[in-house]
Subunit: 142 residues, 4 copies
Amino acid sequence: MPHHTHLTVRGYHLDVYRHVNNARYLEFLEEARWDYFDHNGLAEFFRNSRYGMAIVHIDIHYRRAALLGDKLDIETAFAQADARQAVINQIIRKTGSPHILAEARVSFMLIDQTTGRAIRFPTELQQAIAAHIPSNPAEPAS
Amino acid sequence: MPHHTHLTVRGYHLDVYRHVNNARYLEFLEEARWDYFDHNGLAEFFRNSRYGMAIVHIDIHYRRAALLGDKLDIETAFAQADARQAVINQIIRKTGSPHILAEARVSFMLIDQTTGRAIRFPTELQQAIAAHIPSNPAEPAS
Amino acid sequence: MPHHTHLTVRGYHLDVYRHVNNARYLEFLEEARWDYFDHNGLAEFFRNSRYGMAIVHIDIHYRRAALLGDKLDIETAFAQADARQAVINQIIRKTGSPHILAEARVSFMLIDQTTGRAIRFPTELQQAIAAHIPSNPAEPAS
Amino acid sequence: MPHHTHLTVRGYHLDVYRHVNNARYLEFLEEARWDYFDHNGLAEFFRNSRYGMAIVHIDIHYRRAALLGDKLDIETAFAQADARQAVINQIIRKTGSPHILAEARVSFMLIDQTTGRAIRFPTELQQAIAAHIPSNPAEPAS
């Protein structure tokens, strides 16, 4: 079941074209991932471990402009995970609207913060993530 | 011939993991694109027109962490363009190093700022871009 | 009566020292001001006018560090207003804590967006603001 | 002798009013301070120590708007220092112009990153800073 995060577009999110700047969307997505992790117990896992998430790939399509005052609904769901990498799908819409403003695939690995090196996902984390992957995930269009 | 932009990683570019945050890379890439446009005359074109660039797609791979004090070299080059869309390839390395920290394909359309609608590239812009596409472009690995 | 806005400190808010970066606090304060304006009708006033707010002065004291996962409570209240300038006091605490993390005085003027020039506050705006100034405002310590 | 840092205003620095957002100025100031520290040896001091700088107070006046494409000149100079706190004055102008866009007083303390606590400035740091304080410093107007 995807998780939904809500936020409102403010003046400082906009750029010279008065729409949300492309880099800000990545902060919106990160906000939504932390919010999702707060709700499924993963934030606690990371706080109590020496592990961190290293984003290795983001593929983001910007489909419509988000403007001042728009209320956004960000849908976040795990799409897949193996021992080395997990993928999260995120879709941004205006609240109550079916139209997609932006959609992204975000892939991350696990790093050991004491060594800075990528490591395999611990079994408990892999299982926790697997439990959150919808059986029939909605894929962002490529 | 690709264009090179140089910047240094500062404390405010880093996040909880003490490496450059994924969203900051997009600001680095935007900085490098404006810098490139300043040098090839496109910035002037945009300043004197009612056109703006709307990013429609970014595909970015984060390969190695950038850390406090790292001096970065961002290589920017047009990869392709047609009447509706242009693609820019950007590669971030530490200055003097062959290793890639991040590489991205950035696609944009042209919008008319008075209507907010996507429009076809004017012939002069299409030609100006075509003149800047290397005959044998280095593609980011997928 | 001061208005309260709540947000959570995320990984991308932190910098090399792993506390919230000084510039991010200003985004938190702007977020809280828009949120306040949404609740007291001023956001609507600005959306329906050609006026914008130009910040002319910020005096901010950083008293304690905000860290990953901290839940913040931002208190926002008008402190004074005359025909040319209004002042807003904002105080950031951890939710439920009496300790102040940061406190700021934010002064703004009104600009006419068509001319870019500062203008006097329209009477209706001056009155709307005056109605929101507590009779006995808590001043940030200097 | 004040230190000068140069940067150009880009599309992502602007906000809904198409001038540089108030929070961005603080990133410009931080950029200039790191740049200054790179040139006077202080950056090396911080990299080789367990000390960090904690900003405790910023007093910033925004006097004129900075717009897309503006080339900025940021002047940075130590104003005072004692065993507990140092103050840096920073002034932002358009390059070649006498007019001030923004000016700030930035005060910081030293923290021990292993304990997170404020500490007294080591004598060598206090002396290094004192050597950089102009005998007749230009003060930002209050």
